[in-house]
Symmetry: C2
Subunit: 239 residues, 2 copies
């Protein structure tokens, strides 16, 4: 099956969590809004169509045959077993999804460091509030999330180094992306914190070195971090 991913073509954003799973597993997929012949027009046409049975609230969404699935964590819930990026048993799939939803909360908080008032306003119009929110995020919340995930890795069977224990899962790919994004957005703060989280750093490196993923990351398919995505680098917010 050829999957069709629909997402904004110029940012990593939430779509990147899906792209990483598709790339790592070597899945057959197209990134519709980035195709020269289809592009954003195809995505907007889809979003405005009145004949879609299950319309998404926002991108990303995935077409898989007749199914249309939105919400990043939900897409990964669906793809996980099909791409062999999560074990089949229900208990482990629920646990993976729980971790993914916790990453989604974390990433949502990162977004709000630069848009604490509204996603509909420019950063420049909420800079004062952003500075305050980012200060709270880098001082309090960031280490709360890092503590949690370092703790999960500590619980895993000795030496496995993956969040679910025995083998790599889509949650590990998402953790790689989160750490990469945090390093881009808050380089000073992350450099200070990382020595306390050796298991997370090792996980990031292990994922980055996976052959298909390494090939993807050095290809033009991997968009660069930029000031339009979720992870943005404003030096004044890097407390």
């Amino acid at each position: 099956m050829r999957y069709e991913l629909y997402y904004w073509p110029e940012i990593q954003g939430r779509g990147e969590f899906v792209r990483l799973a598709l790339e790592d597993s070597g899945a057959d997929y197209v990134d519709v809004a980035r195709l020269p012949k289809r592009g954003m027009a195809a995505m907007m046409r889809f979003m405005e169509s009145r004949s879609v049975e299950h319309p998404p609230f926002a991108p990303p969404f995935l077409k898989a045959g007749k199914l249309v699935i939105a919400q990043t964590a939900n897409i990964l819930l669906y793809l996980g077993p099909r791409l062999r990026l999560v074990p089949r048993n229900e208990a482990t799939r629920l646990w993976a999804h729980q971790l993914q939803l916790t990453i989604a909360d974390w990433v949502g908080e990162v977004h709000d460091t630069h848009h604490p008032i509204s996603g509909g306003l420019y950063y420049e119009d909420q800079k004062r509030e952003a500075k305050r929110r980012a200060g709270e995020f880098t001082a309090e919340r960031l280490s709360k999330f890092l503590d949690y995930f370092e703790g999960i890795l500590k619980l895993a069977p000795k030496g496995s180094g993956y969040l679910l224990g025995k083998s790599v899962s889509y949650v590990d790919l998402s953790m790689f992306q989160t750490i990469a994004g945090l390093r881009y957005a808050f380089p000073r703060r992350m450099a200070m914190l990382e020595p306390k989280y050796p298991r997370i750093v090792a996980l990031h490196d292990r994922v980055a070195a996976r052959p298909r993923l390494a090939a993807y990351l050095s290809s033009p398919r991997r968009l660069a971090f930029n000031q339009e995505g979720i992870f943005r680098h404003y030096p004044e917010l890097d407390g």
Copy 2:
């Protein structure tokens, strides 16, 4: 099976979305932190334990036999088919979950209207920012979410009146809770908007009239909305 729900005992909060599903289906459950003999001590002991295989990041979480499941939408994903509050087929379960995650995003935005800087600070310490964020929320985001869900109800088979189409689901219960909360938090704004959303209002009323739910809502088990939960009424934020 007797389910054990763990959540803050003095607020509706995110736990209420789970309580509504358990109550509506007449499930056998205990609300652990509200039991005189167990209470908050039991919940905190659980959260601080080092022997929990799948520790939650935050309440609510559910014990179901040996399973421990956290993240509200994930708990409902698990409970839905077991409580007969969602059809069994995978496509519909994914669609229900997608809608639930969209409700979760919406509810997160409601929370941030009174805590735009940090959940760790008092409202009084972020009042100015709250006023600005609530202004954006009530002017822009609120109707965007209402439009979306009214549109979903419009797509449903004629006269069914439920979000998934044929019969009631846990997503309908969550929509009831969201509307009830929004009415508590933003009574002026909701009174203005509601005439535009007759299907959502009808859904709210239909859910409230379900016999088990009506009994729950008028029992002492239903906590009142208050100024500690997600939905809070600050007249100055009700644009």
